[in-house]
């Protein structure tokens, strides 16, 4: 008798303990953001640094860029991969947004996921948004 009670109790206990896993199995959660390469970035092969470096370090790259532009008046960046960029967040053809033309589907897809809200757009403008 007691054996059966203990076993059903154990069964319920295991089910309950593992409930987060069951829950995840039936509901779909987006595991990771998928930034899309759209516009010019689709045809271009290379970013400023290589992909993983960009993913991890684009904030420091931008910081470097703005200091160089604003403080040292140097606006050209010749990257280690041989390409040159007119350093800018959103002005001109080979700025970040000049190449990654769809901010919402690229930058924001990651940032929303990671709850990052760069305040840059209080001043810098997305050329696509001002029609």
């Amino acid at each position: 008798m007691t054996k059966n009670i203990i076993l059903t109790g154990l069964g319920i206990f295991v089910l309950a303990v593992l409930s987060p896993f069951w829950f995840n199995m039936v509901t779909t959660t987006q595991a990771k953001p998928s930034p899309e390469l759209l516009g010019k970035a689709k045809t271009e092969k290379k970013c400023v640094l290589d992909k993983y470096d960009m993913r991890a370090n684009h904030m420091s790259l931008l910081d470097e860029w703005r200091d160089s532009v604003v403080r040292d008046a140097d606006r050209m960046y010749t990257s280690a991969n041989g390409k040159s960029f007119n350093m800018s967040l959103s002005t001109g053809e080979n700025s970040c947004l000049g190449c990654h033309e769809d901010k919402a589907k690229f930058c924001d897809s990651c940032h929303t996921y990671a709850s990052v809200r760069p305040y840059c757009w209080d001043c810098h403008t997305n050329p696509k948004e001002i029609e």
Binding site: V70, R71, A73, M76, Y77, C123, T125, I130
Partner: protein, 271 residues
């Protein structure tokens, strides 16, 4: 299995040791060769000390209007007379015109040159429009006042602002004897008729002023005010004796604003 002599073993081990050292050495050489480089555009205009000469004889009301419009449009300086688009910016509170922002504007002689006011001053000066802007002083008091080095003097003499560092303390505004700086008491965007994509706007809480169009000089273009001024404004290198501005200073009698304060303005007025 082949029997190895001690000698042949040492030979192979030695070659292998060289090989081990080679990889880091090659890595070292290749990373050194491909380092990113930051530089100026080839077409960029440069100077040892940028300066401006304004020919007051050529400044008419019309010139003033064109110059102000060209500058303020390109740099997204808000205009508080602009009617706010209620759909985009609902519940915008009414403006206070004392909080207007300006990079270059019109001033009467007595305010532009208070120390030169005179009972018997030539009458023509009484109602001539004078264009005034940041003087990009050689000894700029705003630079000394700024606690974060947001305002700084660039090597080429331009007194520039790094908006990213501005904390809105307004010490620079108190320090500037020319009123060349304006504070953003509110978000400027509702008051910009058409945002120009070539230059960022500012936000509430930062100070702003003329940047001598450093973004244009970097591309090899002259400032907007020069282009719109029909020859009244000339910009060039004060330290180059061959420059156009030096020729103008040589040929004409010029004055600067509030010279007695010793800030050494870089904007000259041909009288």
């Amino acid at each position: 299995m082949m029997k190895k002599s001690r000698r042949s073993f040492l030979k192979v081990a030695g070659i292998a040791a060289i090989g081990l050292g080679a990889a880091p050495a090659m890595n070292f050489a290749s990373t050194n060769a491909a380092h990113p480089v930051k530089s100026k555009n080839q077409t960029a205009l440069t100077a040892h000390r940028w300066g401006m000469v304004i020919d007051t004889n050529k400044v008419t009301e019309q010139v003033v209007e064109h110059v102000m419009e060209a500058c303020h449009k390109a740099h997204n300086v808000p205009d508080f007379n602009h009617e706010v688009d209620e759909e985009k910016f609902p519940n915008t509170r009414p403006v206070n015109h004392k909080q207007e922002l300006k990079w270059i504007w019109e001033e009467h002689f007595k305010y532009a040159f208070p120390d030169k006011e005179d009972e018997f001053l030539a009458e023509k000066f009484l109602d001539l429009p004078f264009l005034v802007t940041c003087n990009h002083c050689k000894n700029a008091p705003c630079v000394q006042a700024c606690p974060t080095q947001a305002t700084f003097k660039r090597e080429d003499g331009i007194v520039l602002m790094d908006y990213h560092r501005c904390i809105g303390c307004r010490f620079c505004m108190a320090a500037c004897p020319f009123g060349a700086r304006s504070f953003n008491f509110r978000d400027p965007r509702p008051f910009i008729e058409e945002i120009s994509p070539g230059f960022p706007t500012r936000t509430k809480g930062v100070v702003e002023k003329c940047n001598l169009c450093s973004e244009r000089l970097a591309k090899g273009e002259l400032p907007h005010c020069v282009e719109a001024s029909e020859g009244a404004i000339t910009v060039g290198d004060l330290e180059d004796p061959e420059s156009e501005v030096r020729a103008l200073l040589n040929e004409n009698y010029t004055i600067r604003r509030k010279q007695s304060l010793g800030t050494e303005p870089s904007v000259y007025y041909v009288m």
